[in-house]
Symmetry: C3
Subunit: 139 residues, 3 copies
């Protein structure tokens, strides 16, 4: 498999493991010295273990859907950069909903034959919040 | 064209032919012994002809939008597996709307130079139903 | 980078530069003799400079999100065709929202080592308009 395809699958697994709450698989996608920067989206800049702890506690009882679109991946030897358009949908236990749109700005690093996330920074185009009373009914 | 790209186009055509109701083109994407498993999404497990008949009657007067995202395709000679994140939007004639999210778990098989869908199973993260009165107005 | 990947990145930049209102970068993605056909979507058929002028004035105070999905790109030497599924979300200053779905039907041309958009035609599956009072609150 070529490197660009491998990086797309890496990021696909990021989104899928978040939504399926497969925390060990999510952690394995990051370099040990990775940084995840959610500061522009109202969050923190965290290393991979703190990020995992934060996600595990924040999303424990939350239904999420995360989608990534139209990657722009640039290879440079055993490192790469990537921009992804994204959309997320978060339903909180009290029925409130967050529907967000933006871009991920990532760096990747190849370790042996595996690509891992070295850094990831989220910027937002738009975030909508819907009251519980106005949110759609889940079947 | 490489095999992974060919499989992505196969699945793109699945979504596009469903939404454009191009039934013969949709049928041609499946192996004759394919199975489509919608049992986790409230549907049946069907062969390709029964699936087509079901889709043709269910969607005849229904406006649909189906999107697939972030494929994880793994090749193994002339077979392959694929996981896709998905979103669908279904507007029924009475104005009710279904908005769903989940994953397709597929198998593919190469016949000559053409890839076809050998099996497809849908799992759901979330399905929202909106009443006709609360659905947006289509221009 | 292979040609298909280069064309996917070209289109990703189209969507990203529209949403970030990076007009010079958007213009640079088109051939000088390109045509953009929005006639089926209630718009005009325009050359690249008129298209840019139209987009710049229409979207100046408008928040947009454009996503492209599941490209079907067919190469033929230094030209190529592409079909993309698409979704757009447009928030007007008065609070009204447009939420659209459809397909782009594109042609591309290679100039030196760069792919550019030769023509782009939008067809719609569905367009929803939401009143300001019913639109979600942006955080």
């Amino acid at each position: 498999m070529d490197d660009i395809e491998a990086i797309k699958i890496l990021k696909a697994r990021y989104f899928r493991t978040v939504d399926l709450k497969d925390w060990p698989a999510l952690r394995a996608l990051f370099c040990d010295d990775a940084t995840v920067d959610m500061s522009q989206a109202g969050g923190a800049i965290l290393g991979p273990d703190d990020f995992l702890e934060s996600v595990m506690s924040t999303l424990a009882n939350v239904l999420t859907v995360h989608h990534g679109h139209m990657p722009e991946i640039m290879l440079s030897g055993s490192t790469a950069s990537g921009i992804w358009s994204m959309e997320d949908l978060v339903r909180y236990p009290d029925g409130r909903e967050l529907h967000g749109y933006g871009h991920y700005h990532d760096a990747y690093e190849k370790h042996g034959s595996d690509w891992k996330i070295k850094s990831s920074r989220l910027t937002r185009l738009r975030v909508d919040i819907t009251d519980a009373a106005e949110s759609p009914t889940t079947a």
